[in-house]
């Protein structure tokens, strides 16, 4: 068991990566598939994983939401020849910061203790949620992780 991110880095080696792809069923808005990947079956509970992805999807929906406020912002921005984007942090950027914080928190509390690490989708061009699976490098303890993980690569 890895108790925090630092331990993960020092005592574990990367075994595999799982990529959660985008869900385009509702168009080009940013949404990730909530289908539980089989490689994670032995590592984390399905509900925890789905909660994480659903929360991320909600954040992205909030960032891209079109409503009264965004119309107003759009008109104001147009009136200023969009110079306002240079001065102000856009709504999307604010939400991205919240997302980064949320992912960090999830990594610390839920994923790192299970030998997993979530990469912020913004660092992958918003295409995938990359989940890295670690196995214990040489500790006497959990060897169960390595066997289940190495099995997942052969699919």
């Amino acid at each position: 068991m890895f108790h925090n991110l630092q331990e993960l880095r020092h005592s574990a080696s990367l075994a595999n990566k799982v990529f959660i792809q985008r869900d385009y069923s509702e168009g080009t808005t940013c949404k990730f598939q909530t289908k539980f990947p089989s490689e994670l079956e032995s590592r984390i509970e399905r509900t925890l994983f789905e909660d994480t992805v659903k929360t991320l999807n909600n954040y992205y929906a909030e960032a891209e939401k079109i409503g009264g406020q965004s119309y107003l912002e759009g008109c104001l921005a147009c009136a200023t020849a969009y110079l306002i984007f240079l001065c102000m942090e856009t709504r999307y950027e604010k939400v991205l910061k919240k997302i980064a914080k949320y992912i960090q928190e999830q990594n610390e509390k839920i994923y790192a203790p299970r030998g997993l690490l979530i990469t912020d989708p913004i660092e992958r061009g918003m295409r995938v949620i990359e989940i890295s699976i670690y196995e214990d490098r040489g500790s006497s303890g959990s060897s169960s992780g390595s066997s289940s993980v190495s099995g997942s690569t052969a699919r």
Binding site: L5, L8, R9, S13, L14, A15, N16, K17, F19, R22, Y24, S25, E26, G27, T28, A63, E64, K65, I66, S70, Y71, E73, G74, C75, A77, C78, A81, Y82, L83, F85, L86, M88, E89, T90, R91, Y92, E93, L96, K97, A100, Q104, L117, T119, D120, I122, E123, R124, G125, M126, R127, V128, E130, S132, T153, R155
Partner: protein, 484 residues
């Protein structure tokens, strides 16, 4: 098209991956001076772009005809303020230079924003992602082929495409061999910029950049305000000359008194129709939530006889306009000024893993968003084959090559409805990766203006050619390394 044979890539067998596939063949001078300086991501960006000001400004290798566009706007507006405004202020109202000034500033700002903003470039897939996608493709093929040995009667998807259902409409996603990923819907790969661009509209040589998700609103505002400016200047010049010619003096006398007005008249007369038409066309596209690319290809017009509708349209003009122009500004996905991971972190397995501390992570996030970097991020691109497809076949005939003319002339009178020709030529576009500047410039001049020495004078054919080269030369001499 590359061959469809592929190998299974075992991610564990991969060499230490770096964020960018191509080798670094350009050694930046700064690195030689300070071998330990951490490198920024723009230094290893794989697309055909150059970077200045330490990644704040992004330009393409050639700036296209942006200098010509700027030159035309500056010259015409300058002549307007010098020759026409004093007379009109005296005889009409002093609002005229004010309105003209506001429009001029608006046009200039939106033009620069269109040119210098990252249009929505998608970063290329990391090697691990690419390997994962290869596995997916192998799985799909084995599913399709596995049940039927002959492969004749079972459904065979074309190589490397994926179908998704968007609002009950089947959309095919194609695999991009350069970026090694399945392109998201509405994304297209620009061959000149060598990047996949989200919600790709077209590559506009006038603006020297692709028009995509992030800068479409700037582009639209630019062409709308430019049509107002051109129409305004045209009206003012006509009024000015009419007032001067009053009292039996005649037009020739008026032109002699104000020679600049003649130049403006000619430029505006030929520009106003094309620009007004372009604005009208894009207003139609915005109202139906279409991109130029989709319109040209007829993706949703049901040409093939199927019942296809645009899955992105909200069926309401107002909502469509808002979802194109008023949607919150998406962030730039290419992190130009972020630092490359150090070698130490690369050894833990992959340079892509975000093991770095929270501080570095937040730095990357802040850099990615680039609030300040919007106007600073130039993405000028060389002329291209899939450029503004609003080019007209009529103009094509005046040019030696039809596709370059079509591709390089965005401002001809499309109102005559030559979309069919666009379709046929646009398919040939991808086979013409580049055009020489001189060729397309010639086409543009012929397309846009009747060859007339009177107005060719202020826009010297050699200067736009020379200017970008000299600019490029001077920038190359700078301390920052241009890429490729």
């Amino acid at each position: 098209m590359k061959n469809c044979e592929y190998q299974q890539i075992d991610p564990q067998a991969l060499p230490t991956p770096t964020p960018t596939p191509p080798p670094h063949h350009g050694k930046d001078t700064e690195k030689k001076k300070e071998p330990r300086r951490p490198r920024r991501k723009w230094e290893v960006f794989p697309g055909k772009n150059r970077f200045y000001c330490d990644g704040r400004i992004i330009v393409a290798r050639q700036s296209g005809v942006l200098p010509l566009t700027l030159g035309l706007i500056l010259v015409t507006s300058g002549l307007f303020f010098i020759f026409d405004c004093p007379f009109l202020v005296k005889h009409l109202t002093s609002c005229i230079p004010v309105i003209g000034g506001v429009l001029f500033v608006f046009v200039l700002i939106t033009l620069l924003q269109t040119s210098f903003t990252d249009p929505g470039i998608l970063p290329r897939a990391t090697p691990d992602e690419a390997a994962d996608i290869e596995k997916q493709i192998a799985r799909l093929r084995s599913l399709c082929f596995g049940s039927d040995n002959t492969g004749n009667t079972s459904y065979r998807p074309p190589p490397r495409t994926k179908e998704v259902l968007i609002n009950q409409q089947v959309v095919k996603l194609k695999y991009c061999f350069t970026c090694k990923m399945f392109r998201p819907p509405r994304t297209s790969h620009c061959s000149l910029c060598d990047n996949c661009v989200e919600r790709f509209d077209h590559h506009c040589p006038w603006v020297g950049n692709c028009v995509g998700k992030r800068n479409y609103r700037f582009f639209y505002t630019f062409i709308v305000s430019l049509s107002f400016l051109t129409a305004f200047i045209f009206g003012c010049v006509t009024t000015h000359l009419a007032l001067r010619a009053q009292g039996g003096k005649g037009l020739v006398f008026a032109l002699q008194e104000s020679p600049g007005s003649a130049v403006e008249l000619v430029i505006c007369f030929f520009s106003v129709w094309s620009i007004l038409g372009l604005s009208g066309f894009h207003t139609y596209l915005v109202a139906s939530n279409l991109t130029t690319n989709e319109d040209i290809k007829g993706s949703w017009s049901g040409k093939s006889g199927e019942d296809v509708t645009n899955p992105y349209s909200q069926k309401n003009i107002f909502i469509n306009c808002c979802s194109v122009l008023c949607v919150p500004m998406p962030p730039s996905l290419i992190d130009r000024r972020g630092f490359l991971p150090t070698d130490e972190s690369a050894q833990t397995g992959s340079a892509d893993i975000e093991l770095p501390t929270l501080a570095a992570k937040s730095e990357i996030n802040v850099c990615t968003q680039g609030t300040k970097g919007l106007l600073e991020s130039a993405a000028l691109s060389p002329l291209l084959s899939t450029s503004c497809p609003q080019g007209k076949p009529q103009n094509a005939h005046s040019c030696p090559e039809t596709s370059p003319a079509l591709n390089s002339d965005p401002t001809s009178e499309f109102s005559k409805g030559c979309r069919g020709n666009h379709t046929s030529s646009s398919h040939g576009d991808t086979s013409h990766p580049r055009h020489t500047k001189a060729r397309s410039k010639k086409c543009k001049r012929e397309a846009l203006h009747i060859p007339n020495p009177a107005f060719d004078v202020p826009v010297s054919p050699t200067s736009p050619d020379a200017a970008p080269d000299s600019k490029a030369g001077s920038h190359k001499g700078g301390s920052l390394t241009p890429l490729h």
